[in-house]
Amino acid sequence: MGQRVTIDPITRIEGHLRIEVEVEGGKVVNAWSSAQMFRGIEIILQGRDPRDAPLFTQRSCGVCTYTHYLSSVRAVEAAIGVKIPENARIIRNLLHGAQFQHDHIVHFYHLHALDWVDVVSALQADPAKTAVLADNVSDSPMGGTDYFRQVQQRLQTFVDSGQLGPLNNGYWGHPAYRLPPEANLMASAHYIEALRLQAKTARMHAIFGAKNPHLQTLVAGGVTSIRDMSPERIMKFLSLWQETQDFVEKVYIPDLLAVASFYKDWGAIGGTSNFLCWGDLPQGETEPDSHFLPRGVIMKRDLAGLKMADHEKVAEDVVRAWYENGPAKHPFKGETKPQHGDYEPDKGKYSWFKAPRYEGEPCEVGPLARALVSYASGVKEFKDVIDSVLQQLDIPVEALFSTLGRTAARGIETLIIGRKMEGWIMELVENIKNGDTKTYQPWDMPDKGMGYGLNDVARGALGHWIEIEDKKIKNYQYVVPSTWNLGPRCENGKLGPVEEALIGTPVADPKRPIEVLRTVHSFDPCIACGVHVIDPHSNEVYKIRAL
C-alpha cells in the first residue's frame, strides 16, 4: 500500500474541503474528496414564503453570489407560472455574464495561479526582459521595464518586511514550478492588477443589482432595478464591461496561453470521462433551444455521441455520505437525513457531499463540460476559439480532457461570454429606445405549484427544485456543480470526478503535494454551495414542469 497524504484545509477555494490521496511510485493511485461542513439551508427553507427562497439560497455562496439567486428565482417562477419580460431576461443575462467574468478572472489569478506561478522566483527576474516577454505575448498597455521594476520592488519590499502573510509557507522553489523568473514576474504583476480589476468588474453587478456580493434585484416576475435602466447607468455598465473585456482579451488569455505553454504535459493529467451541461444564457423565451450555452451530455469522452440531457436521469447516492442510507434517488424522490459520523474513507462514510449520478455515472460539470458540449454541438464561437487555442498551443483535441484543458476552457468561455455581452447591452438600449421599459410581470401566488430551474453557472450545472403547498415552501432542494465534481464514491464504488481526475497525478514530494492542488483547484471547488439536505419526510414521485 502506498503512502497516504492528506491536505486539509484545501485553501484558495470557497469552503472547507479535505482531500486525501494514496501515493505509490510517485503517482496518485487512489483519492478521496471530503466536504467538511453542513449548513442545512434546504431544511431551513421549509414552511417559508416562496418569494424569499432566492434570497436564502443566494447565501449558499458569496463567491458565485448571483448563481443560486438566479437559479432559485427561475425555479419559483416555473412553480408559479410567470414569464418574465424581455428586459428582465436581458438584465439577468448581463448580470450572469458579469458573474462569469468576475468568477473566472478571480479563479485564474487568485485561486489557481499560485499553483503554476512561483512568486518568490519573480524577485530574480530581469524587468527589461520581462517587458520584452510581455510585449511578445500581448498588446496590453500595461508593461514596460519601469512598470515591471516597480512591481518587483513592491514585492521585494513586502518580502523584506518579514511579514509574508498570505505568501508564507507556499511551495516556493518546488521543482514542479517551471516558469522562468520573467514569466513569474509578469504573472505576479497581473495577479495584482486582477485584484484591482475584479472590484471594478463587480460594479457591473451593483449597477443593475444594487450591490455585490449578494445582489438585491431579482424578484419572481422580473427585476426591481427599473430606475437603473438610465442612459448614464447603461454607459457606466458598458465602460466597466469594456475595461473587463479588454483585460480578458489582452491579459488573461495571453497569460493563460503563456503559462500553459510551459505545462503542456498537464494536457495528459487530471482528465475525467463524462460531461454534463444543463445550458444557460437564454436568447429568447424557449428553454433549452434558445440557450447560448447548450444543454447536453457526453459519456466516455465520445464527442460524436453527444445527447440531450434529461434531469429525470439524475439520482443522488448517499451510501458514502454522512446521511442515513437508502437507494440512490432522483432529487424529487429523495429521503435524506443528516447523520454525522466518523471519517471513514476506506469503507464507510466520508463526506457531507452526496454523490449525484447521471444514468448511474459520475459526470464532470463546469467550463470544460460546457466547452466540450458547445464544441460537439457546433456552436461557432466555441469551435473557433477552441480550435485556435489548440493550434497555438500545438496540442491535440484529446488534451482538453485534462487539468490543463479544464483551466483553458475556463478562460475560453470568459472570452466568448464576455464578447456576447456587448450585444445584450445594445439589445437593452434598442428596447428602451422603442419605449419598452417593462421589467416586471405581475402574478398571483398559487396554493400549489412545482417547478425547477436547470442552469449552467460559473462552476457548472446547477438545478433548483421547489414544491409549493398552501402558498408556502413544502420542499426545496438543489443539486449543485461542486456536488457533481467533488462528491464521494457511490454505492457502486464509482469515484467522483475529482477523485477520478486525481488518479495518475504525479507527486514529486508527498510533503508538498502541489500537483494535487493543481487538479483540485482546476475544478474551482465551492463547498458551501454543495452542503445541503433535502426534505427528510417526503418520498413522493413528483411531476415537474420547467418554464
Binding site: R12, I13, G40, I44, V63, T65, G165, R196, G221
Partner: protein
Amino acid sequence: MEKDEYNQFYAKLESYGVSRRQFMKYCTFLTATMGLSASLVNDVAEVFASPKQRPPVVWLHFGECTGCSEALLRSSYPFPDRLILETLSLEYHETIMAAAGHQAEENLQNAIKKYDGQFICVVEGAIATKYDGAYGKIGGRTFLEIAREVCPKAAAVICIGSCSSFGGIQAAKPNPGGYQGVGDALGIKTLNISGCPPNPVNFVGTVVNYLLLGKLPALDEKGRPVFAYGQTIHDQCPRRSYFEMGEFVEEFGSQEAALGYCLYKMGCKGPETYNNCPIAKFNDGTNWPVEAGHPCIGCSEPDFWDQMTPFFEEL
C-alpha cells in the same frame, strides 16, 4: 511623518495608480464615515502611509459563504492589493493564502504564538455547536475547538458579517447544526460588523480607528460600531419624504416604482434596521438596495432571517 517621507509615500502611491487627490478624498470619506472630526483626516492618511509593523490579522472561516471575504476584496478605498500588501498582514486567510494543508495550519499556529495578545482575529461565519460541533471541521478539528483556541489569544475579535456576529442564515429556524455567533458560542465580547455581507468600508473604518486611536470604536448594545450602525436606514433614506407624504410603491415595475416612491409597503425593513447603506452605498458608492428598487431585508439585525421574514410583507 516628515515631509520627505510624505513625498516618497505619494510618489509610491502614484506608481500604484492612485493620485494624491484620490487618496485624500478616500481618507476624508473614511474619516467622515467613522464620525471623526475632519481635523483627523491627516492622521487617518498617516495610518495608511507609514505602518511601522503591519497589524497581524488572523482571519477564520467557519459556517459561512465567503461573501464577507469577497466584500472586503471589493474595497476601492484602499484597493484590495494595498490592503493585502501594504496595510494589513494577513497571517491566515484560507481563501487567499498560498499554503495548504499542514503548512496552512502551521501558519495559524505560528501566528497566534508569535503575535499572542497582539493580533486582530477576524471571524467570518457561525460556529456549529450541536453534536460537539460535528457539522463543521477544518484539519480534523471542529470550528468550536479552533475558535476556543484562537479567539482568547487575540487583541480583539472582530466578527465580520451577520453569521459570526449573530449566527446568520444557518442559525435560522430550525437551525439544524446548532449554529451560533462567536460571542454566544464562546461567551466572549466581540465587535460585530454585521450585514450580509457588510459594507467593506465599515470594516476598514473599524481597523483604521483601532490603528489610529489605539482602541476600538464606540459600540452599540449589539456590539456594532456606532459610526456605522448608529441610525436606521429609514432615517437616512433618500426616499424618506415619499414615506412622509404617503407615496408608496405597491407593485414592482409600476409607475410608482419608476418614480422611486417609498418601498415600505413592499416589505422594506429600513425602519427597523441600523446601518449606513444609504450614505456609504456599495461597490465604490455605485448603488444600494433601495436605490435599485428592492426593499431592505434588514440584514444587519440579529436573527433577521426569522425576524424580518417574509421579506416582501409590510412590517
